[in-house]
């Protein structure tokens, strides 16, 4: 799919957009909002916004960061308008396949991300899930690159503490067992 086709607003470009970027937009929205239904709504609104505003895009190479920026704005706006906090505490499921330290790490990291302030969480998701550069994350969140670097560093520090707490708790449980 080309940006030019999108600018011409050919109906079939919506299908292409969905097939190419739908899953990643959904992932970004879900990791920010922790709500599956809201994440689906963000996919719909993001693709339609892109479809209608492709003419605003000056640099074709910046299409994916531009799309992620729209998705993030929709997700943050949705979070504000829904006026609610949903905290999912992830635990490894009994009988699941991924027991062990790797699973504990994953759960601790995801819980840690879910506990970050929303803007910091969005920065983490865009940088480490969507693989945007710091500059693109900064544009998406309307902040300076230095602010984003500081936010990411703070987030990593917090996640390191979450991880250490989780390892400590596991070791303590093992000692009691």
């Amino acid at each position: 799919m080309t940006v030019e086709a999108l600018r011409r607003r050919r109906p079939e470009t919506l299908d292409d957009l969905l097939a190419t970027y739908g899953k990643q937009i959904q992932g970004v929205a879900y990791l920010i909002l922790r709500d599956r239904a809201d994440a689906e709504d963000v996919v719909v609104e993001t693709l339609l916004t892109a479809f209608e505003r492709a003419g605003d895009l000056r640099d074709d190479a910046a299409f994916r960061p531009w799309l992620m920026r729209i998705a993030t704005n929709h997700a943050l706006g949705m979070r504000r308008s829904r006026s609610r906090v949903v905290r999912l505490h992830l635990v490894p499921e009994a009988g699941g396949h991924d027991h062990g330290a790797a699973s504990t790490d994953r759960v601790a990291l995801l819980d840690g991300v879910a506990d970050l302030p929303i803007q910091m969480r969005a920065a983490v998701v865009l940088r480490y899930y969507a693989d945007l550069s710091v500059e693109d994350v900064a544009k998406a969140l309307n902040k300076s690159p230095n602010t984003i670097k500081a936010q990411l560093q703070t987030a990593l520090d917090r996640l390191r503490i979450s991880l250490a707490d989780s390892v400590g708790a596991s070791a303590s449980e093992a000692n009691h067992a």
Binding site: L18, Y30, R36, L48, V85, V125, L156
Partner: protein, 348 residues
Amino acid sequence: MHDTGLEERLRQALRSEGDALPLTVTADRLETRLRLRRAERANRRLALVTAAALVVAVGAGGGFLLANRATTPPVAASSSPAPSAPAQTPSASPTVSLAAVGDIAPYLGWQMLGRINGPNGNPEATLNGELPQSGGHLLVSTACQGTGTLTITATVDDTWTVDCPATSEDPYRMMAYLGDATTFEVRISASGRLAYQVLVEGNDVPLDIPPVVLRHGADEATLAYGCGGAISLGWGYDTGDSCATTLPSTPLETLELAAGDVATVTIDGWTITDARATCGRITTAPDAPSLFEVMTKCTVTAVLKDSTISVSGLPKGGNPWVVELNLKARNAVGDGFSGPFYAYLFVR
């Protein structure tokens, strides 16, 4: 300093979580939504044209009223234009009256910690104090009138934005989790032409789940809340346990019945909207949580009528059975809870 190991683990964790969801959005849904958006936009344009026509009409009427007010004193000075104001700016009053905001009613079951009315000449305001219990949750409700934005920050550097207006009947609500803090602080920054009220309330848990008691005559057993339940608050918060179905850690209470007896459950102040019962036994294994196991030879019936659950039909004799009662209930403000509750039932 870069920690590439941590960054890589974080990448993998986020990908495993973000990519695990199947994409269920379809091209049809996109096209339907696109048609709706276009229709909404067309309606909005029509509404704007209508509004513009009304402004012209009201502007002409306003000029007449203002001309009359030049000879009679204004009734409500804070919300009325000055008698000498030009007729074409009837909405340019410098402040929005706080009376227009109204009082936000306290939320059922929460303890009020303070109210802030603003802006009182200062766009910044802070409310702080002690929490009634160690830690817990802070519920911040905001109502505002006029146009502008309130930026609100709660103790745990959780910041959100409220775009005005928001009515006191349906205020904008946010909840912050305070961990084990003993004090709280809420900061408000106002911009625009607005008046607001912020109500701050605290509770150790988002929802106090009431005791669920199984009764027969004067005998009763309080059912213990198991794992796997969910709660929702009327203003839009909901959450649930993601654990496996395990029994409560507290010992289960026992209710003794005669054959043919019917035990009942009602919850004061709550409407029960759904009830299902199963019965069985507890299974235990070393180093594993106790589990409830349904037994086919044990039958039990739960009938819900007028918010009362009637439990009957258990087999007679033998050992007490564990009864799992899955119910849903809702209160007057729309809060709800659901989940499994457990007790022993023995039919003599």
